[in-house]
């Protein structure tokens, strides 16, 4: 499984890009919420990346580069444009008001996988994508900043808001279940 260390001369686009295929598709499917669109988006991402590969700066983050292409392609697609609302609320200075909430460990433990999936689906796309990049792709803040083209401070404040929004949704769903709605 280990890819031997090679000189870049020997590194093909295929070798770098194909291992990312499954995760890129998963991300595309989450963004588009549609199988056919996700397939088109993934394919277009690979086509664009292949064309742009000669301009890719070796030594910089290839994964972030691929995700950035995918995401920008999505944002300029029809579905993407529909989904994009102005995200002006998260500038860095408005950082992290700490709320006095009691931890909701039991709430999260009780939330089923389906419930969390539904909540993720219901989130605005800019919250959904940052949560996926952070938790599923396990990207560092730096990588997320590169992928989304936003400053680190914004990564932190947006993540904070995304998590809060997710908790709120889960709480609502949980109450809904308890009251048999």
């Amino acid at each position: 499984m280990k890819v031997p260390e090679k000189s870049v001369r020997d590194t093909t686009f295929e070798e770098l890009a194909m291992p990312l295929f499954d995760q890129l598709y998963n991300f595309a499917r989450w963004l588009t919420q549609d199988t056919a669109e996700a397939e088109d988006l993934t394919q277009e991402t690979y086509a664009k990346a292949l064309r742009g590969f000669s301009s890719f700066q070796m030594g910089t983050n290839f994964r972030a580069w691929m995700y950035r292409i995918l995401r920008n392609t999505f944002l300029t697609s029809r579905t993407g444009l529909k989904n994009t609302v102005a995200i002006d609320e998260d500038t860095d200075e408005a950082l992290l008001p700490v709320e006095n909430t009691t931890p909701e460990s039991s709430l999260i433990q009780q939330a089923s996988r389906e419930m969390v999936q539904q909540a993720l689906t219901d989130l605005p796309v800019h919250f959904r994508e940052i949560l996926l990049l952070c938790e599923v792709e396990e990207m560092s803040y730096q990588e997320i900043a590169e992928t989304l083209g936003i400053p680190m401070g914004t990564v932190m404040s947006r993540l904070y808001r995304a998590r809060k929004a997710l908790r709120d949704l889960l709480r609502k769903k949980n109450e809904g279940v308890r009251h048999g709605v």
Binding site: S7, M18, E39
Partner: protein, 249 residues
């Protein structure tokens, strides 16, 4: 520092974005502050549940083949840089795991959660500035240290004649259940042994050896206790240490 200020760092802490000094200061606070520890735990759980839920969709083989065909053996990058492909193998492995895990049911999900939590605890202990709270190679020092700190006792094996060395131990938590974490050393590698009461999150898991992420994990129950042996060493080492522990337990 007030709890409020610690909590401002919690997201960065659970995301692994604090520098080691900050992280270990915060760890120290968490050991003494139940409220902040509960808050941290909740954040970790939220991360985990998003991680589980987010690994959802699998592409068709047809799409993979189509894309692979269009990009096959295309340009080689012609710049004279040497570049380590650092993240790719790990991610290829991860995605393999994802593909396998996509259809797993609730039990598997729990098992994955337990294993990834244990893997995190193992890594966190080794990455921290103080991997163990009781530093001793003597099991007769380490064992009594846990008295009054965890709600059970356990026995540790004699290591003479084996390749293993005991480095020490610490109190740890798996989904709020306190337990013992012992760290052993074998040929430049560390292995964590976790012991909990066999209830809650870790209870009832099938016994045996597994290979989640890049770790080997062996688990079993004995006298009402649940053991996990976790390390990035080969299966033989994990089995050998497990056998010693079973013999002592």
């Amino acid at each position: 520092m007030a709890c409020e200020q610690w909590r401002e760092q919690l997201d960065r802490y659970v995301d692994g974005e604090l520098d080691p000094a900050q992280a270990s200061a915060l760890s120290a606070h968490l050991r003494g502050c139940a409220d902040c520890a509960a808050d941290a735990l909740e954040r970790v759980q939220l991360k985990r549940s998003v991680q589980m839920a987010g690994k959802r969709y699998t592409a068709s083989t047809e799409l993979r083949n189509r894309i692979a065909k269009t990009i096959a053996a295309k340009p080689r990058h012609g710049v004279g840089w040497y570049w380590k492909i650092l993240t790719l193998p790990a991610f290829a492995l991860l995605m393999l795991a994802v593909a396998v895990n996509l259809y797993v049911g609730h039990e598997d999900a729990r098992r994955q959660r337990v294993y990834s939590e244990l893997a995190d605890l193992h890594v966190a202990a080794l990455a921290g500035s103080t991997p163990v709270d009781v530093v001793s190679t003597d099991r007769h020092t380490v064992k009594p240290w846990f008295q009054g700190k965890i709600p059970f006792t356990f026995n540790l094996p004699e290591l003479q004649g084996s390749e293993f060395t005991l480095l020490g131990g610490r109190v740890t938590y798996l989904a709020q259940t306190p337990g013992a974490q012992l760290i052993y050393h074998v040929r430049k590698h560390e292995i964590s042994v976790f012991i909990f009461q066999d209830r809650g999150e870790g209870a009832g898991l099938p016994e045996g050896l597994e290979h989640p992420q890049s770790f080997n994990v062996q688990t079993w129950t004995q006298n009402g206790l649940r053991y996990f042996v976790v390390g990035d060493v080969g299966a033989e080492d994990i089995r050998a240490l497990s056998k010693l522990l079973r013999g002592a337990g």
